[in-house]
């Protein structure tokens, strides 16, 4: 198929960006979206032009490195996939595809489609861990039974890949789904309960500091999340936060 691409080009964080049109031809429907971008870049390099910078790494939907806001949706039109798993069979011959970076105050553009998501890391530094030192003498892994339901729910929350699609999809650029997922994973496990009060307070404080917006329960984040992280996690975080503040 032949396609027109409208792509955000911005040479660095300070520069002013703009949309630029490109044509690509003979795109196979079996290609992944990023392989289509590879074709475009190879074409640009061979013409002596600068290729489009975009983040990507594992190309199997798990590292969370790829981003891209495609036709107004984080990770494009398909559900439950990242951009690297999006396939060209979702598009048809003659389509015009708009490709922008994830946009949020807390995700400044570095170049073209590459954004800086280190704010997510800083939220994790604030409390995304259990304080346990490495030792060969930690108690036996089976000494605290955990109900299968709690373990499975914790796992569902822990599935978050930290891509930032929730933030990019939210009209308030809120990071509540991301933070809620991490808070929930630990809140659901006995190991995580010990530090639960400090954790939720510190992570929420850092989230606010980074300039993420508030949650107004629209639910776009859940719809666009490539890993199906549930809004329940936001509710759980709110409950944890409230009870932490009441307990002090």
């Amino acid at each position: 198929m032949n396609l027109t691409l409208k792509i955000w080009r911005q040479s660095n964080a300070q520069a002013k960006g703009k949309m630029v049109d490109y044509k690509v031809t003979e795109i196979s429907e079996h290609m992944s979206f990023l392989e289509m971008m590879d074709v475009l870049n190879e074409q640009l390099i061979n013409k002596g032009e600068e290729p489009v910078a975009f983040d990507h790494d594992c190309r199997e939907g798990i590292c969370g490195m790829c981003s891209m806001f495609i036709n107004g949706e984080a990770h494009g039109p398909d559900r439950g996939v990242t951009t690297c798993q999006l396939h060209m069979r979702m598009f048809k011959d003659g389509d015009t595809i708009t490709i922008e970076p994830f946009r949020a105050k807390a995700f400044p553009v570095i170049k073209d489609l590459v954004v800086d998501r280190s704010s997510f890391d800083r939220i994790q530094h604030a409390g995304g861990y259990i304080s346990v030192n490495t030792s060969g003498n930690t108690q036996d892994a089976n000494s605290i039974p955990i109900s299968k339901y709690a373990a499975d729910e914790a796992m569902d929350a822990a599935t978050c890949i930290g891509c930032g699609a929730c933030v990019a999809s939210c009209k308030n650029a809120s990071a509540m789904l991301f933070v809620g997922a991490k808070v929930s994973q630990y809140a659901l496990l006995p190991q995580g309960r010990i530090e639960a009060v400090d954790r939720v307070q510190n992570m929420v404080a850092q989230m606010d500091l980074e300039g993420f917006g508030n949650c107004t329960n629209t639910g776009a984040c859940e719809v666009e999340c490539p890993k199906g992280i549930s809004l329940e996690n936001i509710a759980r975080m709110n409950r944890e936060f409230l009870s932490a503040n009441v307990k002090g």
Partner: protein, 671 residues
């Protein structure tokens, strides 16, 4: 003393590690605060090492090319992590895990290292559970296990099909705690481009800030390389796009010997390639072989009919199918080790039985598992005379619970529903057992320079068993390196801060800058990928699943010629002072173009078949094992450690003779 002293402690195998730990020198907590350690790579090995060293009190700097440590490619490991917990009561033990790993590695690994690995494996599970890693559990609340290839027990712990992700996030969380305390300084979007040696000791690195292009000097009392494997030398592999050998190769060029580069794991269950534009291959976890049965049609007419779309795989009756692994290896069936499963798939496809248009695919079929689980569920739920549809529905639900995310991934890529029609799979490059040579302390042949995880050669011999990569990465990082490096650093307490304004740092930085300037000014006619794909093609055709002397000699000269062409005609757009993905790739491909040649040289020198290295000249000619790989223990029971001498083709071979005191060398039989 030979440079290849493995430094394995004396004494009985079972007490070596404990005795070693009891007698090493320690660094007191106050002195640890004055010692700096650099860790390159933040996957399972690097991440766990960085966190643990920081907990101990050392000042740690971590480097990763991704935008966050959490994105290292360990995250993509699906199936699980082995540990000798014997929670299933099925006869597992430290010894048995050790034995399976040495046997699975085709008797080409170091006994003492593997025993230590098996010994600390149980601690890893304890540690990860304490960190909040949500492993799968059964209804009683205890940890669940599954089985992997090449073993007869269930010792694999897992978190759905995302075990690597959960373990990496565990290590990342441990890092985060230390970052918050200021004990780890993370340098993300940074790439190490050289190691700096002062008086023979590793004292720092030169790194490039990938956002600004700035070249930076970082000093330390010890440098740890945890940068993963070199599978991307094949261009197409299951590695991440950015996975590279640069850190490992640069230290090789500065004196670290490179061991067994030809030991590469070609994983049997990957999604087959579909076209020339393909950028990477996707793995389907080996855990699928617990329930999936691998087959091709028995009759060539059916193969042709399927390829032409006239028949569907589900149209073939049981006796029209060749479950070739069950036929050839009745004892292990579909759970033979990876190298055996891969070669068997290649054998069938080479014979013309491949089931897709390219002729390079076999079926992985879940129909029998769905039926088996369905019948079991019907019984559990007291449903009498369940219809075939009901049984299918019940069975599919169980399969979905076990492998749902893998099935979804397959469907998204291939656009076929694996619940209804068998998956198509074909082997792909996945893991490299070879790597930087290290001694028992995980130190390379350069003092103060360590190498851990997939980047080193140590524990898997010539073939790695499933779910053992995660085990090794975390064993090295959490439980081995923090002890061994302390023994070395105890002699560094009087060294003081290491200056970076020295001639050694000047020289290393100049070398790096010259290379970068060369690339951006070369203005050639071909892209970096053009060369990478050509290299990958040579590697796959001549250093792939089976190798012969003629092909390997050709590979050596073709790679050399390609490298010369690369330096004449490669084109790197953009500048050196900005985010420039093509420039990053150019440096990595330049290193692959050297590593590939050494790879072929190593494969040529090893005139035996062992593990992932299959030499067509070395097969069993008769008897029950006819056609199987033939190992030669008399002449080749050694580690090949290569010393760099200016050109990869001129590398000098050093041998570390392998001694087997606990395990009798046998032919690996899975029949």
């Amino acid at each position: 003393m030979s440079v290849l002293d493995s430094k394995v402690p004396k004494g009985p195998l079972k007490t070596k590690w404990t005795d070693y730990k009891n007698h090493i020198d320690l660094v007191n907590p106050a002195n640890k605060r004055n010692i700096d350690v650099i860790v390159v790579g933040t996957g399972l090995a690097g991440g766990s090492a960085a966190a643990t060293l920081a907990e101990l009190g050392y000042n740690v700097k971590t480097f990763c090319y991704q935008d966050s440590p959490r994105r290292a490619h360990s995250i993509a490991a699906q199936g699980g992590i082995n540990a000798a917990k014997n929670y299933q009561g099925d006869g597992d033990s430290t010894y048995r895990l050790f034995y399976d790993t040495v046997k699975g590695g085709d008797y080409r690994s170091r006994e003492a290292n593997v025993y230590r690995l098996a010994e600390v494996s149980a601690n890893i599970i304890d540690q990860c559970v304490a960190q909040g890693v949500p492993f799968a559990r059964d209804y009683g609340g205890l940890l669940d296990n599954r089985s992997f290839g090449g073993v007869l027990v269930s010792r694999t712990f897992y978190a759905k099909g995302q075990t690597g992700q959960q373990l990496l996030l565990g290590a990342y969380s441990a890092m985060n705690r230390q970052i918050a305390r200021g004990k780890i300084t993370p340098f993300n979007r940074h790439e190490m481009l050289d190691v700096v040696k002062v008086n023979g000791k590793a004292r720092g690195i030169i790194a490039r800030n990938l956002v600004t292009g700035e070249i930076e000097r970082h000093s330390a009392h010890a440098v740890v390389i945890a940068s993963g494997g070199y599978g991307n030398v094949y261009f197409l592999s299951t590695n991440a796009m950015g996975s590279n050998a640069t850190a490992a190769w640069k230290i090789h060029k500065k004196g670290a010997f490179f061991a067994n580069p030809c030991y590469t794991q070609i994983h049997p269950t990957c999604i087959p390639r579909s076209g020339d534009y393909q950028s990477k291959l996707t793995l389907m976890s080996e855990s699928l072989r617990n329930d999936g049965r691998i087959w091709v049609p028995k009759n060539m007419e059916d193969v042709m009919a399927i390829r032409e779309g006239k028949k569907k795989p589900t149209d073939l009756s049981e006796d029209e199918r060749d479950y070739y692994l069950e036929r050839r290896y009745p004892a292990f069936g579909n759970l033979v080790p990876r190298d055996v499963a891969s070669r068997a798939a290649k054998e069938r496809c080479d014979a013309g039985y491949g089931v897709n248009a390219t002729g390079e695919a076999v079926y992985l079929d879940f129909a029998s598992a769905i039926e088996r689980y369905g019948i079991e569920q019907a019984k559990i739920h007291n449903i009498t005379n369940a219809s075939a549809d009901k049984i299918y529905e019940l069975g599919a639900a169980i399969v979905k619970a076990k492998y749902g995310n893998l099935f979804q991934m397959y469907e998204k890529i291939v656009d076929q529903d694996p619940y209804k029609t068998p998956m198509m799979i074909y082997p792909a490059v996945h893991y490299t057992m070879g790597g930087v040579w290290v001694d028992y302390n995980l130190m390379t042949t350069v003092e103060g320079l360590y190498c851990i995880g997939e980047a080193n050669f140590s524990d898997h011999g010539a073939n790695r068993l499933g779910a053992s990569a995660l085990m090794q990465g975390l064993a090295d990082g959490y439980f081995v390196l923090p002890y061994t490096i302390g023994d070395y650093l105890s002699h560094e307490i009087r060294t003081g801060k290491i200056a970076t304004d020295t001639p050694e740092f000047d020289a290393a930085e100049k070398e790096v800058t010259d290379k970068i300037n060369f690339f951006v000014n070369n203005k050639g006619s071909h892209s970096v990928d053009y060369y990478h794909k050509k290299l990958g093609n040579i590697m796959w055709e001549k250093c792939g699943m089976s190798r012969n002397a003629k092909g390997l000699k050709e590979a050596m000269s073709e790679i050399k010629a390609l490298r010369e062409d690369f330096y004449k005609n490669v084109s790197v757009p953009g500048t050196a002072t900005e985010l420039n993905a093509e420039l990053e790739k150019a440096g990595r491909v330049a290193d692959f173009l050297e590593l590939g040649e050494l790879f072929a040289k190593d494969a040529l020198a090893r005139e035996e078949s062992c593990g992932g290295h299959f030499r067509e000249e070395s097969v069993e000619l008769g008897g029950e094992q006819e056609g199987e790989a033939k190992r030669n223990d008399v002449d080749f029971a050694f580690v090949s450690a290569w010393e760099y001498k200016g050109e990869p083709g001129d590398a000098v071979l050093h041998k570390e003779q392998l001694e087997f005191n606990e395990i009798e060398l046998k032919q690996r039989s899975y029949k």
